[in-house]
Symmetry: C2
Subunit: 217 residues, 2 copies
């Protein structure tokens, strides 16, 4: 397999499917199911069974003919792949409505994400606590990021504030940004940006709906 210093490169489409597998597997585990076949997973998630097997191979889990894959092992393997078996401390930038919602989103614990502080430039918000997490002034971000060794930040600010916030984050040594701001941010080559704008996903949906409606005519 292609590797980067011996680390397997998992294709992005596979990475996007892994959480679906994980969720299904956790459900099965709860129901006491011990092993599961690629066919079953494929049916449940509307995928091809060959694809499921291929995806599973990236986790280094090997199955047994006639039986399938061990549910527990697969859960662990996926969590390890995604680094979801440990907590990554993160900052949240932008305590607006989306930011607030994210701070309150319990599920992130299952995804290895742990918010340790939020930042905003609105004096009204600074000093408040949202879902138990303190909102600090954005000026303090660089120092705190370095002090607390934070590498990941979630950006939930309006478009026009985004780049300015990014620059502040970079000063603090942030190396990975989960970008919800509706714009493209500029970062040095080595910084990881994952865009999670609603618009991306919505574009796919509205196009399909539009095509669907047109085919009805």
């Amino acid at each position: 397999m292609l590797t980067k210093k011996n680390i397997v490169v998992i294709p992005e489409p596979t990475l996007r499917r892994l959480p679906h597998y994980l969720h299904l597997l956790l459900n099965l585990k709860e129901q006491g199911v011990k092993s599961v076949s690629s066919t079953f997973i494929a049916n449940e998630l509307g995928l091809d069974s060959t694809q499921v097997r291929k995806d599973v191979q990236y986790t280094n889990i090997i199955g047994k003919p006639k039986t399938g894959f061990d549910v527990n092992s697969l859960i662990n393997a996926i969590q390890t792949c995604l680094n979801w078996n440990r907590y990554e401390n993160a900052f949240l930038i932008g305590a607006g409505s989306l930011g607030t919602a994210m701070l309150g989103y319990k599920q992130f614990k299952d995804y290895g994400l742990n918010f340790v502080a939020a930042f905003d430039n609105d004096p009204e918000k600074v000093g408040q606590k949202i879902h138990g997490i303190e909102v600090l002034s954005i000026d303090r971000l660089p120092v705190l990021a370095q002090l607390m060794k934070i590498h990941l930040a979630v950006l939930t600010v309006p478009a026009k504030a985004a780049q300015e916030c990014v620059d502040i984050m970079l000063k603090g040594g942030i190396v990975a940004i989960w970008n919800f701001a509706p714009m493209q941010i500029k970062v040095p080559q080595n910084v990881i940006v994952e865009n999670a704008q609603f618009s991306q996903s919505l574009a796919v949906l509205t196009r399909k709906l539009s095509v669907y409606k047109q085919t009805l005519l």
Copy 2:
């Protein structure tokens, strides 16, 4: 090109990039820029210029050598592609924190999305107004969806409530679902589902970050 009853099928990766183009173009327009080259767009967004040209071709816009593409035409063409030049009325299901954030998200107007009502099963919430949109009891959804001819619904409920809500939505004739619930929902073949779980996007990010940290060792 491949067509479905003469409608061009735009690849999903292209659809996901179109909103980025659109955003950049709107910025350029505001700055008074009249035309733009594929090279410029590619540089701004960190893409390949050939890819930009290929994507633009799907919008049926043709450019001029040495000049590039007309900004206004391209904006219109992308909006038309995505059906963002008209409003699609939509229901929101699940008035929790994410749902609330979405109801207040002004940008959706630019994406052709218009929330006309929200639904929840919590009696505390029913009757309230969130960002000017009334929260109704989920029981009333099927009748109202048909009456108001709503085809699109945004699902922001917890995992365990999701499938139940979906079944109710289907009764009302909903044909497109934007699913934020952290689970795979089951729908008939002809119903469009776009999964927008945070986990998908986060998986890509946490994996990359994990690999990045490992390569530093």
